[in-house]
């Protein structure tokens, strides 16, 4: 609809007055009449055409329909509230919060006190809130008041960042705990030996020294594991280039891991002779850790199978299969976490550092491979490593 401004009375009067003056001074009626008509016509036209600026302000400030189409496919959950009632929730918001939040009070969707403070004051601002969809997640809640009624709420997921920083602090806490435990017992035994009153008998002395040696060895193992873990992490992004013959490497590393006593339990099924590009020392460590674990946690009376084959996907596949108690399902996803233990007492008693599988996982990742763990309780576990084959065929090596 065209809107009219005020009728230009002042302009019309000025036009008439000017033309009358022209007629008086010049006496030319036709000329002054023509000038008057043209002048009035321009005024008339201007009167009907709405001014340009006015049209812009005439568009409704926030068209809800249009805004909802605009935000619908955004990757972040976005909601529009009118007087703190949710009127629009985009696709992501409906997924995260549930479709039921539409037409509800904003406080039903965000019951965290920090968010409610912003909602209640109709304020523009940000807050970090927990437990929007699940109890442990963390979101940045960003509310912008648009006009008296409308406000936009945007959510930014920060759970991952939070997890990373927590994992880091957990790691430091765990590492210092793990390092301190053997140190504390070493100090304790040495103090007893030094200050023992009366002095310890040779037998007790021998026993204490044995314990000290054990703990010191554990400490050494832990430090070297931590070192290799951080070294692998540091080189994570450059693919190793050396060409490695897997079969002899696996045989040698398995024998090393088993030691003379446990060697008879090894059951090799090396059906292929693949080459991969990799870091031989790291691959040796990978095999050692897997075989050592299998021998340690498998049934001592039963063999550990080490199978090597190639897959159709141009991968070398190493499977280390033990026969023992197996691992409970709930532990499987956490096994490669640092210092994660399914049974702390048993793992420490057998001299584990809690880092073995974390190292394996990092080595596999560095070789662009995959680690799969399957386990059947009461039967045993299978650790499968797949590493892409080297393009060069073995004959050319």
């Amino acid at each position: 609809m065209q809107k009219r401004g005020a009728f230009p009375w002042a302009g019309s009067i000025l036009a008439v007055a000017t033309c009358v003056t022209i007629y008086w001074t010049t006496g030319q009626f036709m000329l002054s009449a023509a000038a008057l008509i043209v002048w009035l016509c321009t005024l008339w036209l201007a009167y009907w055409t709405p001014p340009e600026i006015q049209r812009v302000t005439e568009v409704e400030a926030y068209d809800v329909q249009r805004v909802s189409r605009l935000i619908e496919n955004s990757g972040a959950p976005i909601l529009v509230t009118s007087r703190n009632r949710i009127i629009v929730a985009n696709q992501m918001a409906r997924k995260v919060l549930g479709a039921h939040v539409i037409e509800q009070d904003a406080r039903v969707a965000f019951r965290q006190p920090e968010a409610i403070a912003l909602i209640d004051q109709r304020a523009t601002g940000r807050a970090r809130i927990r437990g929007v969809a699940r109890r442990r997640d963390v979101w940045l809640f960003n509310r912008q008041q648009l006009d008296d009624d409308l406000a936009v709420i945007e959510l930014i997921n920060q759970t991952a960042e939070e997890d990373i920083s927590r994992a880091h602090t957990d790691f430091v806490a765990n590492a210092s705990h793990e390092l301190r435990t053997p140190l504390a017992s070493i100090i304790g035994y040495v103090e007893t030996l030094l200050e023992g009153e009366p002095p310890a008998t040779p037998e007790i002395r021998q026993k204490f020294l044995g314990t000290i040696l054990n703990e010191a060895n554990r400490l050494q193992g832990l430090v070297s594991d931590l070192m290799s873990l951080s070294r692998i992490e540091a080189e994570k992004h450059d693919r190793p280039q050396e060409i490695v013959l897997l079969k002899p490497l696996i045989e040698k590393a398995s024998m090393d891991a088993a030691g003379l006593e446990r060697q008879p339990r090894l059951d090799f099924q090396l059906d292929a002779d693949p080459t991969v590009s990799g870091d031989p020392r790291q691959l040796e460590q990978l095999v050692r850790n897997l075989v050592d674990n299998a021998l340690k946690y498998g049934d001592p009376a039963k063999p550990v199978t080490i199978a090597l084959s190639t897959t159709d996907n141009q991968e070398a596949k190493l499977a280390v299969i033990d026969r023992g108690d197996g691992i409970a399902k709930e532990h499987l996803p956490h096994l490669t976490r640092r210092f994660y233990r399914t049974d702390p007492g048993r793992s420490r008693a057998s001299g584990g550092t809690g880092l073995g599988l974390a190292i394996v996982k990092h080595i596999v990742e560095r070789h662009a491979g995959r680690l799969d763990i399957t386990s059947q309780q009461g039967q045993g576990s299978t650790f499968t490593v797949r590493i892409p084959l080297n393009e060069v065929s073995p004959e050319n090596v």
Partner: protein
């Protein structure tokens, strides 16, 4: 819920639900902070929890007033009436949950020798489950979701099992460490409070189920 002819009624119900959610949010935070304060021995955090309870009480009073006003002025029927009655009852229960958190916070200063007090390490796992229940039941309320409500009810068993195991643990700890009996006794009360929080979350779940469906969940045998 379908729209009503009287727009003001819709607005009242929405506000009522908003208030319940706000209360629930405060109670949820209180549980978490009370447990954190208990485990870390943080007196300031505990103080905050105790102060927050006043706010929860104030909102409960507001819910009561609003619910009574809705009933008096609008005479709601069927699911609307259920909604209002459930809100009234849920507000009372959530307020109790807040009280239990406050009670836990009040006991923070009474635990001695925190660094070496082993039974303290048993609490977080139990508290975690109870807090999870409260979170889920509030989500179920917001979504009017009877299925989630029934899941919450089923979880209560776990909290009860935890309570029994903590009870046995703490009692045997008392026998071995007579010096710390008073701290251990405090801890028993804390465990008891957490167990009650779980029970109350179950009660809320039952009312959510009632408001959504019109009947209480079938196997109703909680404490």
């Amino acid at each position: 819920m379908s729209e009503h002819t009287v727009k003001a009624f819709d607005e009242d119900i929405t506000r009522l639900r908003g208030l319940i959610a706000e209360m629930g949010g405060l109670a949820e935070l209180s549980i978490q902070e009370a447990l954190d304060a208990m485990i870390r021995g943080d007196d300031e955090l505990a103080e905050g929890v105790i102060l927050r309870d006043k706010k929860i009480d104030a909102i409960e009073a507001e819910v009561d007033k609003l619910a009574v006003r809705i009933i008096a002025l609008r005479a709601p029927m069927a699911d609307d009436l259920r909604e209002v009655i459930a809100a009234l009852k849920i507000a009372g229960v959530v307020e109790r949950i807040g009280d239990y958190s406050k009670n836990i916070a009040k006991r923070v200063g009474k635990i001695e020798g925190r660094g070496t007090f082993e039974p303290l390490t048993l609490l977080p796992a139990m508290g975690e489950i109870a807090a999870e229940m409260v979170h889920d039941v509030l989500t179920a309320y917001a979504a009017r979701d009877p299925v989630l409500a029934r899941e919450v009810i089923a979880t209560d068993e776990k909290v009860d099992a935890f309570y029994n195991s903590i009870f046995r643990n703490v009692v045997s700890y008392m026998v071995e460490n007579p010096k710390l009996i008073s701290s251990a006794a405090q801890l028993l009360f804390v465990a008891r409070n957490i167990e009650r929080i779980g029970d109350h979350a179950t009660n809320v779940a039952e009312m959510v189920h009632f408001a959504a469906t019109g009947y209480y969940p079938p196997d109703e045998d909680s404490a």
